[in-house]
Amino acid sequence: MASPDSSVAPLPAARPDGGARVNDFSIQVATANGSGSQSSNTVLLRAIFQMGVPVSGKNLFPSNIAGLPTWYTIRASRDGWIARKKEVDLLVAMNPETARDDVLGLSAGAAVVYDAPLALAELRPDLVYYPVAFDALVEPLTKEPKLRRLLRNMAYVGVLARLLDLDLGEVEHAIEKQFPGKPRARDLNVAAARAGFDHAATLEKRDPLVVRRMDRTAGKILVDGNAAAAMGALFAGVTVVAWYPITPSSSLVETLIGHLRRYRIGPDGKATFAVVQAEDELAAVGMAIGAGWAGARAMTATAGPGVSLMSEFAGLAYYAEIPAVIFDVQRVGPSTGLPTRTAQGDVLSTAFLSHGDTRHVLLFPGSVEECFTMGVDAFDLAERLQTPVFVMTDLDLGMNVWMSDPFPYPARPLDRGKVLGKDDLDRLGGFARYADVDGDGIGWRTLPGTPHPKAAYFTRGTGHDEQAAYSEDPRTFERNLARLEKKLDGARDLLPAPVREGSGEAKLGLLAYGSSDPALREARDQLRREAGLDSDYLRVRAYPFSREVREFVEAHERVYVVEQNRDGQLAALLKLDLPAALVPRLRPVPHLDGLPLDARTVSDAIRAEEAR
């Protein structure tokens, strides 16, 4: 496979004209997976971060365990842009399989650190080359060949530290964080980094890229979205977790299990949670629904194929009105698709998941912080609304490391929704499960086990009346379905409101969601700076849409709906939701190639449209 962007016509890179390019470049490291490069790249990322420079890292890895090409891109941006950047300023070419294509795909003037035996310098005259004999560098450190392979990768971090003028102390500090409690691994890696650092002193610096200390990361954290969502679930007080492994969602649950074991087991060894690795996704969601029915805060996490398998159960939970939280860490479909690439491709099918007039609540976290906050809110919303809530995150958010403000401790107490206990029943003398007593379409429920002779009701996916009794009566059926519609409609006001940016005066509206956010912000800046196009930006955070979404469209002549799928799925939901007269204002900008969205793709598309 070629370098991921090789077939995109490269944009002319900003040429260094003698001066340094400080804190504004991107590095791509090309290795093979399973070779330990993930640690090295994290160390590099973290070292830059520790120097106070905004960074982001994108891992482009194959659906495979070991030996296939992997690329990791680190962007340092003094302006704080953290979207993927297509142009590579510095390539670290460690993988013989892809090195040729990787080099040929660069823009003129880019720098290349490479494993000397690859002899890449012959390929093009217009690059800056730094050959390094990595094997020789790590040879003195260990005799184990396997370990050597790993250390080679830490050595390039040292080389880059010297070339970029990174503080070696920060590198060492980052290595320490990377291998906590493993002094031998730490020491060896520090030695490897130092070897690289020392060796690089012999290289003549001929590129302009440098890192200088800033103060833009103080207090911030580095974390991936899956870890953030796991913490969300932890602080939501999740009690039942049923799951089935699938990329890219597995690490969400695996991290959560770690936290639960650490923070939710009492001194007596007893757990306030149950985790079950189910036999498949049907069972996983079935368990979550059974648990939600019985009153637990229950969840599962999966990706597209799992969501498809959950379809029948999703309809049951919608219709029988049972809370459950489902994290969908989206990857590229259709079908098994590209399991290790990112997309926002499950939006439309999940909104209508299951046959027969089913509708669902979706949340769209747009940052790791929102993976956390929505990870908390989803449980409140599911119990409040008595319906499944899907948290639509994606591989880019979930598996890449992001810079973030630390997460806020939840401000509100748990909202356990409308539940009647024994005392309530004593007072009321009974209840009707599906009666709309509060005018919001949400009935009151009881939990199994409630010690009251009037507590029980019969839950079913078949037609039922207000008392939850079986019914085929046409009018009863209609009423019930209308109530469900009302309930979901009312959800608009409970869900996270969209986030607005801009003066509100622009004619041009940009609308996006989820992990597209950084690219959208940067694209907005590009549009203004490069094309004089002023725009407002609305980031949608939930479906059914808040009323503000409509207001935004009303207030703009043209609204570009940018998303990471082929079919313009959120745009489709908007078309169905907005008054028909507003629909012509929507300009879908769907894009899907499995790579995290970059600003240039967005601004180019919009400029082209605007120029028409």
Binding site: G266, H452, T462
Partner: protein
Amino acid sequence: MATPATPAAPRTNRLGLSVVEYKGAKSTLCAGCGHNAISERILEAMYEMGVPPERVAKLSGIGCSSKSPAYFMSRSHAFNALHGRMPSVATGAVLANRELLALGVSGDGDTASIGIGQFVHLMRRNLPILYVVENNGVYGLTKGQFSATADLGAKLKTGVQNDLPAIDLCTLAIQLGATFVGRSFSGDKRQLSAMLRAALAHRGTAMLDVVSPCVTFNDHEGSTKSYAYMKEHDVPLHELQFVPAFEDLAVEYDPGTTVDVTMHDGSHLRLRKLEEGYDPRDRGRAMSRLVEAQAGGDVLTGVLFVDAKAPSLVDLLNLVDAPLATLPAEAVRPPREVLDALMDALR
């Protein structure tokens, strides 16, 4: 059931409840359907064991059998879930509230056809549940197609013959690790009642495969799940006696002819052997005897396998004693310091 109540007055159980408190809605199943008889037996067993109806969660899939929980114990919560997916829903419910007494009711189509995957995995996990399969060898609710428990050579009314081997749910359950496996017949009031009561005292998965004729679609000649067939081929392995803990009767028994199993709650299951050499504590032997019987067209009934000591899923997960569902916020949301520590680690 924490504290055994004082011996009950004649018409009430030890909780002081009359049998009426265990009734359900009027059955809409066909008159004569085996499932109706099983509902009766379940209701009686619950009454006799003095199970508080509010503690029971009735769980089922889809089918005539799966509808039947509506026809007993209206005072218990119930969840009539999806076709073949009751096991997962039950698993979630039990984990959410370990105090629930989960009663799963399913059919042979619901369990052995579409639901076999969830069945297999529930058995492995030894979830505390009383799982009753009302086995008529056909899909009743969709009007009489063969299910996967239909016996080789069985005939539908239309003359169509089943040419695939039957899945024997008991053999399967024993193999997979279920800890209480029994087979009975909806028409055998005594055996089924004793078995249900013993199963209610079991902690872990109690799987009962109860032959339950479908009078509308599978009670004809040529059927192997008919009343007539069962009358001829039912081979009880033993006579069952169940002595609940709260009755503590010290009945004499002969260890040579009777197997006595002490259940988790101190009650006793006594099996007076009718077949020499069958030991319901030997997994491998039980399986080979069942395979042999199946090949010969015999329907072995009784408690086929029991292991009253194996840890249940709730034990394995080492859950706190209180139901997870209703733990207070303090117990489930870690304090601010934990978040601070987590954030620090990420800096």
